[in-house]
């Protein structure tokens, strides 16, 4: 399978160009309920180190990580992709992060003593830094360093990182309010305040109940002003258990950071002495090496490489291999968006949903290991998701029922797809299925490089295309407003279905302001159903992450973004 192009990897709206894998169950697997994956907000106790030791844990050894492509940036302000986050958690600590407490994903304080507190319903957020946290040069981490790190996210040169913090602090035109610390100016105290060395206070423009989630990414980590500069991207200072020895596009080696104190860290156990990341292998080679399990590969994991479909049968058929496979749904939910500004007839849209051959498309992408067939927009990983099935059509599509909905009409559908190998093959299947239901299909292959530019034009001239979304944290607020708010429709935005419905827009405003997160997420799920009633998308797949590891590896798990988590990994010998 070809490596996903960087452009695709960077825009977090990944489309299943490299959906890999095959899977567990035989047929009948569709009826199985997807596992629940919600996240709760923890307290100070859950945020206290040291982290829980997995059974049989052991100190020492060198762990190997096999990856297809290097992460281009280590600068915490430019780390965004799931893989980059799973890597940088070894050397970068941030204000908050996720850990499993008794099998339940929990948001806890990482550098902070708890996941933040608010006194005014979500406009002002206060974080207190733990004592005894130091940079790798021995300097204690102060609130000034956190503030400086936040200031750097305003920098127009650092475009790749998430921008929630500056947007919520200074509005979407944040770059006009403040240019970043390059010219020596600092953010005023009424935006970010540091009353003492261990306290940071954020003054948001509007209330955001999910701010503790928004800081659970490396861009909230402290940066020392004295060490910032051009080379910082390649060798940022470390607050986590490891520091960078060497980094380029073929490898990354991490050695122990002696200044890290496990007593302060509720997430990482950091058993191996050393990590060696090797970049530049093809997915098939990584899978083959992990299956063969020879020599150093016994102590190897992969963060991002799934199981190519050619190995699916073998892995699922052999108990020892299956035991070395981690599998969980990840936040990606894929759908074929119907452009509602062009396909205005509700029955035609319903007929598309009815005729669509989900199961065949998934088989071309590698079968059940690729993920679970979807009936909703929100993925089961989103807190509060409701697994309803509104249309109850067979997963193979029902051309006869679709014909009935079309009532003798033969509408023309402009179907666009990315010119990647998997998508070209699924296009063959989709075209055939829609034609069976009497649609006229006009195929539009679009090159991978220009895919997003063409798709995100306001009037893209297309009717049906694959899109996907993963929220930056597991709540509906990161999904529905981003892709279904009709007022955002413009060139370059992400309302794939071009749905502009006053009722839905009003709901988005209402739910977004709710102060209680749990209640809010229930309402997002209800809105999911309303959008499905409008038949704006054909839900396709909740993506699954399948990761093999060597036989010498223990304590590995799938993290909240679907990557192999290295937090509590250890080597058996």
């Amino acid at each position: 399978m070809k490596r996903t192009s960087l452009a695709v990897a960077l825009t977090a709206t990944l489309v299943a160009s490299a959906a890999c894998g095959g899977s567990g169950g035989k047929s009948g697997e569709n009826t199985k309920k997807a596992e629940k994956f919600s996240v709760v907000v923890g307290d100070g106790a859950a945020s206290t180190g040291p982290a829980t030791a997995p059974e049989g844990a052991r100190q020492g050894g060198t762990a190997f990580v096999l990856e297809q492509s290097a992460i281009p940036h280590l600068d915490p302000a430019e780390v965004y992709t799931s893989t980059a986050q799973a890597t940088s958690m070894l050397f970068t600590r941030q204000l908050t992060s996720y850990r499993k407490v008794n099998g339940q994903w929990t948001l806890v304080g990482d550098l902070a003593t708890d996941p933040g507190s608010t006194s005014d319903g979500g406009k002002t957020w206060k974080f207190t830094l733990k004592e005894g946290v130091k940079f790798d040069d021995g300097t204690p981490v102060t609130s000034e360093d956190v503030k400086y790190g936040v200031e750097r996210t305003y920098d127009s040169g650092k475009v790749l990182g998430p921008k929630w913090i500056p947007q919520w602090l200074s509005g979407s035109d944040y770059a006009k309010a403040y240019e970043g610390p390059g010219k020596g100016e600092s953010l005023p105290d009424d935006v970010v305040e540091t009353p003492d060395d261990r306290t940071v206070v954020f003054h948001l423009r509007e209330a955001h109940a999910d701010f503790p989630f928004a800081v659970a990414m490396p861009y909230s980590s402290p940066v020392q002003k004295s060490r910032d500069g051009k080379s910082y991207d390649n060798k940022p200072s470390a607050t986590g258990p490891y520091k960078i020895e060497k980094h380029d596009d073929t490898k990354l080696t991490l050695v122990r950071n002696e200044q890290w104190d496990p007593a302060t860290d509720p997430i990482r156990t950091a058993y191996p002495e050393r990590y060696e990341f090797a970049y530049g292998s093809e997915a098939t080679q990584i899978a083959q090496r992990l299956i063969s399990d020879n020599g150093d590969d016994k102590n190897a994991v992969t963060l991002n490489t799934g199981i190519p479909s050619q190995f699916a049968q073998q892995v699922m058929g052999q108990a020892d291999l299956k035991a070395r496979m981690l599998s969980a749904l990840n936040p990606y939910s894929y759908f074929y968006a119907i452009n509602t500004s062009r396909v205005t007839d509700l029955n035609v849209r319903k007929a598309l949903i009815t005729a669509f051959p989900k199961q065949q498309v998934r088989q071309v992408a590698g079968g059940p290991l690729a993920g679970d067939l979807a009936t909703t927009i929100l993925s089961p990983t989103v807190q509060g998701q409701d697994p309803f099935d509104l249309y109850k059509v067979p997963a193979t599509g029902d051309p006869e029922a679709a014909k009935k909905l079309l009532n003798g009409k033969t509408p023309t559908i402009v179907f666009a797809y990315q010119q990647t190998e998997t998508n070209e093959r699924s296009a063959v299947v989709i075209t055939q299925a829609l034609e069976k239901a009497d649609f006229k299909v006009v195929r539009k292959p679009i090159s991978a490089e220009t895919w997003y530019d063409q798709l995100n034009k306001k009037d893209n001239g297309l009717d049906l295309y694959l899109a996907g979304w993963a929220a930056d944290w597991p709540g509906g607020s990161g999904v529905i407003p981003a892709i279904f708010d009709g007022r955002t429709i413009a060139d370059g935005t992400y309302n794939y279905a071009r749905l502009d419905d006053p009722e839905i827009n009003a709901e988005i405003d209402r739910i977004g302001k709710m102060p209680n997160l749990v209640e809010q997420n229930k309402q997002w799920a209800a809105l999911d159903k309303k959008i499905m009633e409008k038949a704006a998308v054909v839900p396709y797949l909740y993506e699954r992450s399948n990761r093999l590891h060597g036989s010498g590896v223990g304590g590995a798990a799938i993290d909240i973004f679907g990557q192999t988590s290295l937090a509590t990994l250890f080597l058996k010998s």
Binding site: S5, L6, P72, G157, D249, S292, N294, T493
Partner: protein, 325 residues
Amino acid sequence: MFAFLARRISSGVLILVTIIVVTFGLFYALPRDPARLFCGKICTPEMLAAARRNLGLDEALLTQLWQYLSGLVAGRDIGDVHCAAPCLGYSYITQRPVLDVLFERFPVTLSLAAGSSVIFLVVGGGAGLLAARFRGTWVDKGATSFSLAGSAMQVYFVGVIALYLLVDQSQLMSRPGWTSPLDDLAAWFGGLLLPWIILSIIFTATYTRFTRSTMVETLGEDFVRTARAKGMPGRTVFFKYAARGTAAPVITLFGIDAAVLLSGAVITETVFNLPGIGKLAVDSVTNADLPMLMGVTLVAATAMIVANIVVDACYALIDPRVRTS
């Protein structure tokens, strides 16, 4: 001789400049915008413009070309960093100096080229000599049949099938990969053995055939016949006179092949996942990484031109007529 060299080198430089200009032009005809890679999830037109400015893509094409060429000769300042001559710029993707990356990748390509050259020169040359020596016997027929079949053994399928049979299924050979010989000599050898063999098959076929035919031709030349007529033993004639006469054309052929191999065996490096110049080339095309692509092209073209000059210079030393032609 100096005049000859000067002439060839200056024309080589001209060819290089032509190639730089053509590659530059071609790259700009590519239907993609490298700046888009540097624009985040939400990419506003202003952010795109900033990215273009950072990459120096906002300048006119000719200005960029001029900056590149002068950077090569005199070095240049990119942003706030000085890039010393010969400056090949920085990778769009990794921001690393292109020259560093080339130096890092070159040992892989060099190892691959050197190892397989040893195999095909020894095996191919040897088989060709033997076939000529025992012309018409089973040795000759065997070598000829081998070279016929071998010339059809394309790396892209023989390599994959060999991986399947020799590595995945039977584990007779270690999995191909790159380890620096300075780190672990045995791992270096083990990781390259299969690529060496597979890459050398086609070349071995060519060299068997070529050595054999050149040898047969030389054996028919007057000086060899004279030696034989004078009663010199067959073996002496064969090795002392004829084999030497064959060496020159074989070395010429090798000069060109060496240049081809040094500019990166794209398919071999892709099939066996070796991080050499060829793999770098494919990746930089995929990633629209112009500076890297220019660097690779320059290395490859330079290798080609130098090899040609060396070969011609050797000829000129032997045959003075070439110098004036």
